[in-house]
């Protein structure tokens, strides 16, 4: 009971914060609406755009500069060390493994997720009742990486092959005749793939839902015309469907790549980066908050930043094109 009362008090704190926030806004709106004549326009600008600009400046823009500066400093953030942190990232053997793992992640996980999602989208379109399957495959999107890690930790659980198995994967391996299944999460380098499976499990639903909508939006007469010209099956798919949803495919791919680049929770919960499974985002967390090496942590964050630039830049260019067409 005590838990419930203190719990309700916590939720009360949250709601009170919302109430105060709304009250403040109403006051600001009231004052802003008093503005007359020449003051009207600037008052509206400050009230409407001001909070967002201030929050973005403090939360993203200034930190980006500070972290970039920090990446050229030592562990304590006091002395400049030039490119030493980046040298450490790109030359130490343990970090080469981190970079290699991250590269494997950003190549394999997005491609497999998108390919499976596309296959499912195409298959679902041929089914009469698709909604239940769609919901269930989509469901993992709502589950946290930590939760997913525990769900899959159970699948990969290792027990002495002589005794009863708890992990589903080991049990299936034994059923199909593999007498001595390995400890999946320690089995280098394949453990990386077992971790990627979790990411794929989460992302396939996303790819499926978005691509399915794109396929449904292809106008019927385009398909009919192609069919009149004799396109069927694979030809219809590769010459009509794929080009028609090309833009959506790229968005899905880049979205998943960015998510994968920042993957942190899965690795942290499953192996904490041990056994040859470390990736850049988790190494960044470990350097910053476990080793307290601000310089190296910042440098790793900068590596992530640089890796995301081309993807967002591409999206900005696409967006500008669309705007000018409109």
């Amino acid at each position: 009971m005590e838990e419930v009362t203190s719990g309700l008090a916590k939720i009360g704190t949250g709601l009170a914060a919302v109430a105060i926030f709304i009250a403040l806004l109403l006051i600001v709106f009231f004052i802003g609406a008093r503005a007359r004549g020449k003051l009207q326009h600037p008052a509206a600008m400050i009230v409407f755009l001001g909070p967002a600009i201030v929050l973005l400046a403090y939360g993203l823009i200034a930190p980006a500069f500070l972290t970039t500066a920090g990446s050229f400093k030592d562990a304590t953030g006091q002395n400049w060390v030039g490119l030493a942190n980046f040298g450490w990232i790109f030359t130490t053997p343990s970090n080469r493994e981190v970079l290699l793992n991250t590269a494997l992640w950003i190549i394999i996980a997005p491609l497999v997720s998108t390919a499976l999602g596309l296959t499912l989208a195409l298959l679902l379109d041929r089914m009469r009742r698709e909604s239940i399957s769609k919901s269930l495959i989509f469901m993992p999107m709502a589950i946290s990486f930590v939760g997913a890690g525990i769900i899959w930790g159970l699948v990969y659980e290792y027990r002495d092959p002589a005794g009863a198995q708890i992990g589903l994967l080991s049990q299936i391996a034994q059923w199909i005749g593999m007498e001595d299944p390995p400890n999946w999460l320690l089995w280098q380098p394949f453990n990386n793939f077992f971790l990627m499976v979790i990411m794929i499990w989460i992302q396939v639903g996303f790819a499926m839902v978005v691509l399915s909508a794109a396929i449904k939006a292809i106008p019927g007469d385009v398909v009919e015309a192609a069919e009149l010209d004799g396109a069927t099956g694979w030809k219809l798919f590769s010459r009509v469907t794929i080009p028609m949803i090309r833009g959506t495919l790229i968005v899905v791919l880049t979205t998943i790549i960015i998510a994968v680049l920042k993957v942190f929770d899965i690795v942290r919960v499953m192996t904490n980066g041990n056994f040859g499974t470390q990736v850049v985002a988790n190494e960044m967390y470990a350097q910053s908050f476990v080793q307290f090496d601000v310089g190296r942590g910042s440098a790793l964050a900068v590596v992530l930043f640089v890796a995301v630039i081309p993807l967002i830049a591409y999206n900005v260019i696409q967006l500008r094109k669309e705007r000018t067409i409109r």
Partner: protein
């Protein structure tokens, strides 16, 4: 949920004459394929089994859960709610229960979903309907800010909350300490979490809401302006009510995202039962009590049940938000 945000998804335009027979219909006539159905059912089962296994394991007595696979319930169907009562309020194995963290998650996620929404709505309105020089530039800059990964902001923001920022002698963010101590007033409160989540959510929120608000009919605003309505009145009486669908979609995303977040939580809340959310608790017990499978699975199910309820009850909005602009991370 950690899909990265951005981009409106380009969709082929539907046929304006209402002839909307698409590939699926065309294919349905020719290829009513039992193979396709079978394959989809197979994948659905594969996709659902891991979560099902978690649920079953969490309901089995500790003895069975730790020594036999969950699929053996077919022969040994003993189920219990004991694990749940132990993990919720703490027991002999794991002394601290999940309950305080569960409430923390709500206390963090509700404001952290509402703050960025309101602020983003206002900013989106300003960019779309208050004419000013450089509005396009502001819009693209905000969109491009998604390039900055969360990871870049963690260390500087943590310093800001704990020690303040100053540029030489000029304070940019004050060092606010509890009276008589060296400890920041923010430690042990939800405030840094709310603010951090709000900051990180803004680029995507502004982008999505701008796409929506921008498409409201121009005549509406012109008529209101002619009648002498101020921007404040227009925003409250016209924009907010009309934007409800977009707001609902984004609110669900943001709520789920905050609820499921671990990185921001670990950085700004530590692991204390005062403020840390359920994900931090789970990551912690997974590390310290990994062998207590029955309790960890019960804890995990408590943590995922809220997002699952939100997901299944509001799936329509969720999908709409997804299609409007993809998800975030």
């Amino acid at each position: 949920m950690s899909v990265e945000a951005h981009e409106i998804i380009p969709m082929p335009q539907p046929d304006p004459h209402g002839r909307q027979e698409s590939i699926p219909e065309a294919a349905k006539r020719k290829l009513s394929s039992p193979w396709a159905t079978g394959l989809v059912i197979l994948i659905t089962v594969l996709w659902t089994i891991p979560t099902f296994g978690l649920l079953v394991t969490s309901l089995r007595p500790s003895e069975q859960a730790q020594n036999t696979g969950w699929w053996t319930i077919i022969t040994d169907p003993t189920l219990t709610l004991d694990n749940y009562s132990q993990v919720i309020s703490g027991g002999s194995v794991i002394p601290n229960g999940i309950a305080p963290y569960f409430f923390n998650s709500f206390a963090i996620a509700i404001p952290a979903a509402i703050f960025p929404l309101v602020i983003a709505c206002m900013a989106a309105y300003a960019i779309a309907w208050i004419p000013f020089r450089g509005s396009t530039f502001v819009f693209f800059t905000i969109f491009a800010l998604q390039v900055i990964p969360l990871q870049m902001s963690l260390l500087p923001l943590l310093t800001m909350f704990n020690k303040g920022w100053s540029l030489g002698p000029i304070p940019i963010f004050p060092d606010l300490n509890k009276p008589g101590t060296e400890q920041s007033i923010f430690i042990g409160t939800y405030v840094p979490l709310w603010i951090a989540h709000t900051m990180f959510a803004l680029p995507l929120a502004i982008f999505l809401l701008h796409n929506f608000i921008n498409q409201l009919p121009r005549e509406l605003f012109e008529a209101a302006r002619v009648d002498g309505a101020s921007h404040f009145l227009i925003f409250r009486k016209l924009v907010l009510p009309l934007t409800v669908p977009a707001i609902a979609s984004f609110a669900i995303f943001q709520f789920l995202w905050v609820w499921n977040d671990l990185l921001v939580a670990l950085t700004f809340a530590g692991g204390t039962p005062d403020v840390a959310p359920i994900t931090a608790y789970l990551a912690n017990i997974k590390g310290s009590y990994g062998a207590q499978i029955h309790l960890i699975t019960a804890g995990a199910f408590v943590a995922i049940v809220v997002p699952l309820i939100v997901f299944f009850s509001l799936q329509r909005f969720f999908v709409r938000g997804l299609l409007a602009g993809s998800v975030k991370g």
